[in-house]
Symmetry: C2
Subunit: 142 residues, 2 copies
């Protein structure tokens, strides 16, 4: 969500923010999507519910993990892959932090950023619900 709280230079110059791993997403091309969804539903023992706002996603909490989601994303095409979602209360500051460490911005979608790590793996930085990240459940970056 670049720019809505602060300019990038200010955010990345040391404003305190939080981030945490929040979801594991299985990205699946259309032909295998339904079988993949059924498989991970049965494998995890959880009902994967379609998201109202993002219908390409089905999700559930991973059993045994309080705050970790299992997501299955329907892809138009491409190859099946796994990606991680990092939630942050300041997306721009978190993306700037990760860029300094070697990540590259790939695409800005809605309110989140798709990044690429040094080995080329995609991952996302997604806005967290306000107030949901604390010293008890996330990393604080000063």
């Amino acid at each position: 969500m670049p720019g809505w709280r602060c300019q990038r230079d200010i955010c990345s110059a040391g404003m305190t923010h939080y981030s945490r791993l929040a979801a594991i997403a299985l990205d699946v091309p259309e032909p295998e999507h339904d079988r993949e969804l059924a498989f991970w539903q049965a494998a995890s023992g959880e009902q994967l519910v379609q998201d109202d706002d993002l219908p390409e996603y089905h999700g559930a909490r991973w059993p045994g993990h309080d705050k970790l989601l299992l997501l299955v994303q329907r892809l138009g095409d491409g190859q099946a892959r796994v990606h991680l979602d990092i939630h942050s209360d300041d997306v721009e500051a978190e993306v700037a932090r990760l860029e300094k460490l070697g990540a590259k911005r790939v695409q800005h979608i809605g309110h989140w950023w798709v990044l690429q790590d040094p080995a080329g793996l995609l991952f996302c930085v997604v806005p967290a619900r306000p107030g949901s990240l604390t010293d008890d459940n996330a990393q604080r970056w000063d």
Copy 2:
């Protein structure tokens, strides 16, 4: 660890066992390994420690998650990918359960199995420490 507790047919016919998601592994070819390891160490804020028995793995607990590991695996070659590790107190029973749901056995390595899900994504079923899986932190399969 096939066969050490029971025959496959007996295990898969309904013996109670537990399983849970235990780790997210980033599998990285040799040329990118060191940069990837340094990146995720700084990104997570955790020191990734090399495993004594499996030196190709470095690992740490994900911040904010009690029982979830971040692993970086050095690959000889191949393409970077993410794989999930499921821990179970009865690997053979868990693999048989997942096979019935549509997974395929790919390779038996040490005490664990590499499987492929319906979209072709690799994941592993790995022995859990005896007694570590309970109704509070894992799924029970009767």
